[in-house]
């Protein structure tokens, strides 16, 4: 039987890279959530193993309908929450609305998806759920109150849920990358002057990462090779966080 795997943020960066890797395996049925399908038209075209779902994760109240309509008879073996937004904003401008908006995508949408994924109807025993946090979930940086707190919140979700789902041997883990070369990082670097970009790069002892550098740990966590691994935070950052 084919393994069903769900990925959010499938249209870009890390989500797209893991989708490309998973689709090399004809035994995997992949479901990907995103908004802008044009960014992965090459994956969508003629790929019987891939179902793209155009869904705006701001609409949390529609997640229930998503499971009823799209995933009604699907039991997932894996889930990766890659959708996320990054922003730099000083606390003085962090209105409740702004805070809600970053948490909505980075945290609340994941919890709501997991609410359904945790049901027997929608997951197999032994499944693996992975949340994309960030080294910023454990560290701090000026202007990142929203990003850091939302990524830290995911670490709490991982530990609690790992215990809740242990009875079904469902594993829940977080991956915490340093700077990875993706559209998200391009946007971030655009807002910084060259000097700062150079500084950030030099803070990664073995350089900033490429998406292919993160795919390996995701494949490991999805596989049975990690079947005794749960509730953990995996930093993968070229040494950024050890200094």
């Amino acid at each position: 039987m084919k393994k069903s795997i769900l990925i959010t943020g499938v249209t870009s960066g890390i989500g797209k890279a893991i989708a490309e890797e998973l689709l090399l395996d004809s035994n995997i049925q992949l479901f990907g959530i995103g908004r802008d399908r044009t960014k992965i038209q090459h994956l969508i075209n003629n790929n019987v193993n891939f179902t793209f779902i155009n869904f705006d994760l701001f609409q949390i109240d529609k997640v229930e309908g998503l499971f009823k309509e799209e995933f009604n008879d699907i039991k997932f073996s894996g889930f990766i929450h890659c959708a996320g937004i990054e922003e730099t904003l000083p606390i003085s401008l962090y209105t409740p609305e702004k805070v809600r908006s970053i948490f909505q995508i980075n945290v609340f949408s994941a919890i709501e998806l997991l609410r359904f994924l945790s049901k027997k109807k929608h997951s197999l025993d032994g499944a693996s759920f992975i949340l994309m946090s960030s080294v910023m979930g454990e560290l701090g940086q000026a202007g990142k109150v929203g990003y850091c707190s939302s990524k830290a919140a995911l670490l709490g979700v991982v530990k609690s849920l790992a215990l809740e789902l242990s009875k079904r041997v469902i594993r829940v883990n977080a991956v915490l990358p340093g700077i990875v070369n993706t559209p998200l990082t391009e946007k971030l670097f655009e807002q910084l002057d060259e000097e700062n970009v150079r500084k950030i790069k030099s803070m990664h002892p073995i350089g900033i990462g490429e998406v292919s550098d993160v795919v390996g740990i995701l494949m490991y966590l999805l596989s049975d090779k990690s079947k005794w691994v749960t509730g953990q935070n995996f930093k993968i950052d070229g040494g950024y966080s050890i200094q």
Binding site: T88, L89, P90, S92, L93, A142, G143, E190, Q191, L192, D193, E194, N196
Partner: protein
Amino acid sequence: MEIEKFLKLLVEELELESPLTVTTNLKELEEWDSMVAMMLIGAVSNEFDMTLSAKDIEEITTVQSLINKIGVEKFS
């Protein structure tokens, strides 16, 4: 937005000690540093839904030059 209102907004959001005019050079303000630049980017993003880049920040001098970056048509 009225220019007068914009000047007041900047003083408030950037927490400046003294009032601004369109000819004030932002970079010469005593308060100017990377944190104020960040607050400026945030304030402009909130008000005008546009993100100033690092290059924009580098090029800005006076408030007028900031207004030009944002787009004079957005001011009255």
